[in-house]
């Protein structure tokens, strides 16, 4: 999942960047509204965290512009003000949730996960596919009731599949949503990870949850074939 952070306070921006990367997100950081709007409209963003009090283009402007261009990813507002007037205004512009400063990182991460889940159409944090249960909040994966050990990157690929079940996902799309600008992924890496995921999710080869569609990408089956 690729998260855009638009925040002008350097320390907070860097802190959010580190925390989100630790959670397994690909992160784009922007210090001002103009950059933020560019990323929000030109990059395959899955969620944006936008500070309301930005220099130049305000956070409200970004939200409005993003929605005007019909980009539908969830937007989380960061604001120092907590009155309802501001909240209502931000939500009416097209924001999905807000967090008031100062905040706890766990709180923010919980909201981020909830928004991503919601935008994929899941009400509860736990998503089940046949014998597989993925908890998008705690990031615990159960296979037949047993905890499945996954590396951070394996989990990220699985999470993306879980949020886009029964959809064709190209290798390019996976690359864009799982790596940020800094990384230069070797296309081989995705194939290797998918191979490892297949072995872990389906050791007997009976379920085959990840289909390969030649020349198009992969498809995660929500129901066993």
């Amino acid at each position: 999942m690729r998260v855009l952070v638009v925040e002008d306070e350097t320390e907070l921006r860097e802190l959010l960047g580190r925390a989100l990367k630790k959670e397994g997100f690909a992160v784009d950081l922007c210090a001002d509204g103009t950059d933020g709007l560019f990323y929000a409209t030109e990059y395959p963003i899955d969620l944006a965290i936008v500070d309301l009090g930005l220099p130049g283009q305000s956070g409200m402007d970004i939200v409005r512009a993003v929605r005007k261009r019909e980009r539908k990813f969830p937007i989380l507002i960061l604001t120092a003000r907590s009155d309802w007037q501001d909240k209502v205004q931000a939500l009416e512009m097209g924001a999905d949730d807000y967090v008031t400063k100062p905040f706890r990182l766990e709180e923010l991460m919980a909201r981020v996960h909830a928004l991503l889940r919601r935008s994929a159409g899941h009400a509860a944090p736990e998503v089940s596919f046949g014998p597989l249960t993925v908890n998008l909040s705690s990031q615990i994966v159960l296979l037949d009731g047993q905890t499945l050990e996954l590396t951070s990157f394996e989990y990220r690929v699985l999470e993306y599949f879980a949020l886009h079940p029964d959809q064709v996902v190209s290798k390019m799309e996976l690359n864009e949503h799982l790596y940020d600008e800094d990384a230069d992924p070797d296309s081989n890496v995705i194939e290797v990870i998918i191979g490892r995921l297949r072995r872990k999710l389906d050791p007997e080869g009976s379920w085959q949850p990840i289909e390969t569609l030649r020349g198009r990408g992969y498809r995660f089956r929500s129901q066993p074939a």
Binding site: W84, Q85, V88
Partner: protein
């Protein structure tokens, strides 16, 4: 006004010139008839006029008034024409017709002429033209004299009117100048409020101004107080951390986090208190239902995964005079609680407090289908977050803030049973 006076002057001038020309024509006509009464033709058809005419100017050389008579065979002119440089050029006028023309045609003279047929003793009829002419300089001099008078009087009238206007304006503006002066005095700190007598028309202005000043002073005092409170409240935790950092027992991360939470809580509480205690004097009436609807839409977005069902009923036009931000805060807190602690359903009902009265005040009831609030705990909940020992915000802080907002407007917050099964909170706000 200058324009009006100029138009008047122009009209009068036109009228006078016309009348003067008519008078001139009549005078010349009478001269012509005077000549006619004494004229005779000799046997050769040459006009003969007695030299003792009733008009003395005709016999006075250079008088400017001239007359003459002519026939195809001869001509008579008055004595006054002697020595005139460019005498009026006479010509025969058709029998039975008259002619009058001004200097703009002839070049020099106003001329009146009449054409006649004169019957000689032998029965022959001779064409005879009798004319009279007047020097236009005299006429222009008359007009110029009149114009001078006209403008002098009009100018005087204009000056009087302007003076009268200035005097009236000064009289009318005097009370306003007094208000302006008094306001300046207040600005300079020499006075607290507008006092003294003002005309009845200005009373509403001065009363409102005084109310505004009082609120302004109140607000300033509250802000100062809030700032002082905040600074004071923050000093203690800061001092403790500072001291611990310098000691041999530095604070743990957990302790630092707790101290930070405390400080954040302090800041929020003081901010809310400051916002609550500043009142605006002149509030526009605000329609309640549209505002509630906006909040409901926002809450449905915030609690998207709960399938929140909010129903709003009541009279669409119900409005109340409070600050929009306050009303939104008030309803927002209570509706947020209903969304958080309810079981997915909420009903907001808006009505007038005393239907029929001119400014009835409003009742806003927010009901949910949650577990409800036991009446014996309601008082405690209202106190939550207000007491200093309260550390975490949570259920009830919104209630406490709402309670204080309602009280600031002289209203009440009551707990009722909801027909949805949960709590129903009723806000009643007085007219003003």
């Amino acid at each position: 006004m200058v324009l009006a006076l100029s138009l008047i002057a122009l009209a009068v001038d036109r009228g006078f010139t016309g009348a003067a020309e008519n008078a001139l024509k009549e005078r010349l006509e009478s001269v012509v008839f005077l000549i006619l009464s004494t004229i005779d033709l000799d046997e050769n058809g040459v006009p003969v006029v007695a030299e003792t005419l009733a008009e003395p100017r005709l016999v006075q050389p250079g008088s400017g008034l001239h007359a003459g008579a002519m026939t195809p065979t001869g001509e008579w002119t008055s004595l006054s024409l002697v020595g005139v440089f460019r005498p009026p050029r006479a010509r025969l006028v058709e029998r039975g017709s008259t002619l009058f023309r001004g200097p703009e045609i002839d070049g020099t003279w106003y001329v009146y002429a009449i054409g006649l047929g004169w019957e000689q003793p032998d029965g022959e009829i001779v064409d005879l033209t009798i004319w009279a002419a007047e020097d236009p300089d005299r006429f222009q001099a008359t007009i110029a004299g009149f114009r001078k008078d006209l403008w002098r009087w009009l100018g005087l009238a204009a000056m009087l009117v302007i003076l009268a206007q200035v005097a009236i304006m000064a009289m009318l503006l005097k009370p306003l100048r007094k208000v302006a002066f008094d306001v300046a005095e207040i600005e300079a700190g020499r006075r607290d409020a507008l006092s003294g007598s003002y005309p009845r028309e200005l009373q509403p202005l001065t009363v409102n101004l005084n109310a505004l000043l009082a609120t302004e002073r109140d607000n300033a005092r509250h802000y100062r107080q809030a700032l002082a409170d905040l600074a004071h409240a923050l000093k203690t935790p800061v001092a403790v951390i500072r001291a611990r950092l310098d000691s041999d027992q530095p604070p743990t991360t957990k302790e630092l986090g707790e101290a930070l939470d405390d400080m954040d809580h302090l800041i929020r509480r003081q901010l809310e208190r400051a916002a609550r205690s500043t009142r605006r004097t002149l509030n526009q009436p605000i329609a309640v239902i549209p505002l509630v609807r906006r909040l409901a839409d926002s809450l449905m977005r915030l609690y998207a995964d709960r399938n929140l069902d909010v129903s709003i009923s009541g009279e669409e036009g119900v409005s109340v005079r409070v600050d929009a931000r306050d009303l939104m805060e008030l309803c927002g807190n209570l509706m947020d609680n209903a969304a958080k602690y309810g079981n997915g359903r909420m009903h907001v009902f808006v009505e007038y407090g005393e239907p029929g009265s001119r400014e009835p005040g409003v009742l806003i009831t927010i009901a949910d289908n949650g577990p409800g609030i036991p009446p014996e705990r309601f008082g405690d909940l209202l106190q939550r977050g207000v007491r200093d020992d309260e550390r975490r915000e949570g259920q009830g802080l919104g209630l406490a803030i709402s309670q204080q907002l309602v009280e600031a407007y002289g209203g009440r917050l009551e707990l009722h049973r909801s027909d949805l099964g949960g709590a129903a909170l009723r806000i009643s706000l007085p007219p003003r």
